[in-house]
């Protein structure tokens, strides 16, 4: 069974396509990167899969079920958002934010308790953030914020992990922690889908790469996708081939 299956997906904003006729399947237990230039529709694709954007044209299945019919979504989908989508002024601290990773398991009405606090604290230790557990979330650096959201996704213990731009402008420690987590998740046979700009680190880690620029340019193993021809098609003359 595919973890994620996207069929004939098109998304239009004011009659202008943001995504056009996208088809691909992510096998369970693999690690996939979605890459492409700015404005290529990478985040739109991710949000369509997550059902955060209404899909009118095309179908999306998660673990064999249409994504809008998926029950207990928190068991299947863990998500690390781009940092910009969060209200960092909200009067709440780091550990409370991490505990949100268990909200889905708690369901409506039930409040997080000792068990959730313990899980959150352990995750914070794992990502080197234990000493910040009582900081207000807005008081952290960009990399620290990302580690908080990694911890939150981690304690969700879902089947498929979605990460939006985890390598965009973070410190080297955060980058290392992120890579370590990806490896660990992969060893545990989780499926991982990452939207990223960072072409250089790609080859070593990913099983498949989805290269898009509104349309699908190529989908396959890194050596199949990262050809001069494909990169030219996606980026035009703007970017060079990644090294390594």
């Amino acid at each position: 069974m595919s973890a994620v299956k996207v069929s004939n997906l098109s998304i239009l904003y004011h009659q202008i396509p943001a995504l056009w006729d996208i088809n691909f399947e992510v096998p369970e237990g693999t690690m996939v990167a979605i890459i492409g230039p700015n404005g290529a529709g990478k985040s739109t694709l991710l949000k369509s899969i997550l059902n955060l954007i209404k899909v009118k044209n095309g179908e999306i299945e998660i673990m064999g079920t249409p994504h809008h019919k998926l029950r207990d979504k928190h068991k299947y989908i863990a998500y690390m958002p781009q940092r910009s989508s969060i209200d960092f002024d909200f009067p709440t601290n780091v550990i409370d934010v991490v505990m949100m990773g268990r909200y889905g398991h708690l369901g409506w009405f039930k409040r997080p308790g000792k068990n959730e606090r313990e899980l959150a604290m352990n995750a914070l230790k794992k990502f080197g953030m234990a000493e910040y557990s009582h900081r207000q979330i807005g008081e952290l650096s960009g990399g620290q914020k990302q580690r908080v959201f990694l911890a939150r996704a981690y304690i969700q213990q879902a089947d498929i992990y979605f990460l939006d731009e985890p390598f965009g402008g973070v410190d080297s420690k955060t980058e290392q922690v992120t890579l370590d987590l990806l490896k660990e998740l992969k060893d545990n046979n989780k499926t991982i889908i990452v939207v990223t700009h960072e072409l250089d680190t790609l080859k070593a880690y990913f099983d498949y790469i989805m290269l898009i620029n509104t349309q699908k340019i190529a989908f396959g193993t890194p050596s199949e996708v990262l050809t001069a021809e494909n990169m030219q098609a996606a980026y035009g003359g703007l970017m060079h081939m990644p090294h390594r």
């Binding site: 904003y13 998500y79 909200f90 009067p91 949100m100 409506w108 207000q136």
Partner: protein, 281 residues
């Protein structure tokens, strides 16, 4: 019957009930939404009055609250379709429905206590005379009991949905993925804000009702980075504003108690702003 004590208690209770929902209102970025709500509620009162023909009908507050929620939801629907920007839409709609409400009052409710002036400033002076009497016992002004009831409803709502209110405000996309429908929380919260404004409306009018809601929590927001403390502080500030505002208004011989409460709350806000800003530099 003791008018002084009744008005004092009412001033404090109205301030408390407003600031409690106000905390979540400003954290959800909903101050302008509250303005649109309060102005829509006026229209809702007039429309429901056309059906009931009775200003004391229990359907009046419900009809008014629902009208507010429906109009604001329509605005949100329009802005989601990217037809128009949200602040512009809210700004236009609240003036539109308010004008419509005022015209309808003049046309259809001319012989009642509902007037343009009462809609704008409220009419606290009349309230102590509308008593809640059971089996001959005078239990105080009716509105005081309604306020207590609404406060209880608000406490229960916030108690039940505390975690959901938090996650949908901090990260609504993540809430959606976890299966907490932000639309449900938005709508139900708007209804809570709506019934609160309907309650404070008769005392404070459409503008001041929102002021009582927004100013104490905005002050508390500057003083703490913890939600529980923010709620507690905003209630304390509301009580201080309610008490001081009442005493000043009473001694000035003014009946616009709610306006004075708002001025006191505003002054506290300014003082706190100056102190917290100068502390940071």
């Amino acid at each position: 019957m003791n008018v002084y004590f009744d008005l004092l208690l009412l001033s404090v209770m109205i301030s408390i009930v407003s600031s409690l929902v106000g905390t979540f209102l400003i954290l959800r970025g909903g101050s302008l939404t509250a303005f649109a709500l309060s102005h829509s509620i006026l229209l809702g009162i007039v429309i429901t009055f056309l059906f009931t023909r009775d200003l004391n009908s229990p359907f009046l507050p419900v009809g008014a609250a629902l009208t507010g929620v429906i109009i604001v939801s329509l605005v949100e629907f329009l802005t989601k379709s990217r037809f128009i920007k949200q602040d512009a839409a809210l700004g236009i709609i609240y003036l539109f429905v308010f004008s419509l409400g005022l015209i309808m009052i003049a046309k259809y409710a001319a012989n009642t206590t509902l007037s343009a002036k009462a809609a704008i400033t409220g009419n606290i002076a009349l309230i102590p005379f509308d008593r809640f009497i059971i089996a001959g016992y005078d239990l105080g002004p009716k509105l005081l009991w309604i306020t207590i009831l609404v406060l209880l409803i608000n406490i229960i709502y916030i108690g039940i949905f505390y975690k959901e209110l938090k996650i949908t405000a901090i990260d609504s996309e993540y809430a959606h993925i976890l299966g907490f429908n932000p639309t449900f929380i938005n709508l139900s919260f708007m209804f809570i804000v709506s019934i609160t404004i309907v309650t404070t409306f008769s005392v404070a009018g459409v503008v001041i009702a929102v002021g009582l809601m927004v100013i104490p929590p905005a002050t508390a927001f500057m003083l703490t980075k913890e939600l529980r403390k923010m709620i507690a502080l905003s209630i304390v500030i509301a009580i201080i504003s309610g008490l001081l505002g009442f005493f000043i208004a009473w001694n000035l011989g003014s009946v616009e108690i709610s306006s004075v409460i708002t001025i006191v709350a505003g002054l506290i806000f300014m003082i706190v702003t100056i102190f917290t800003r100068s502390g940071k530099n």
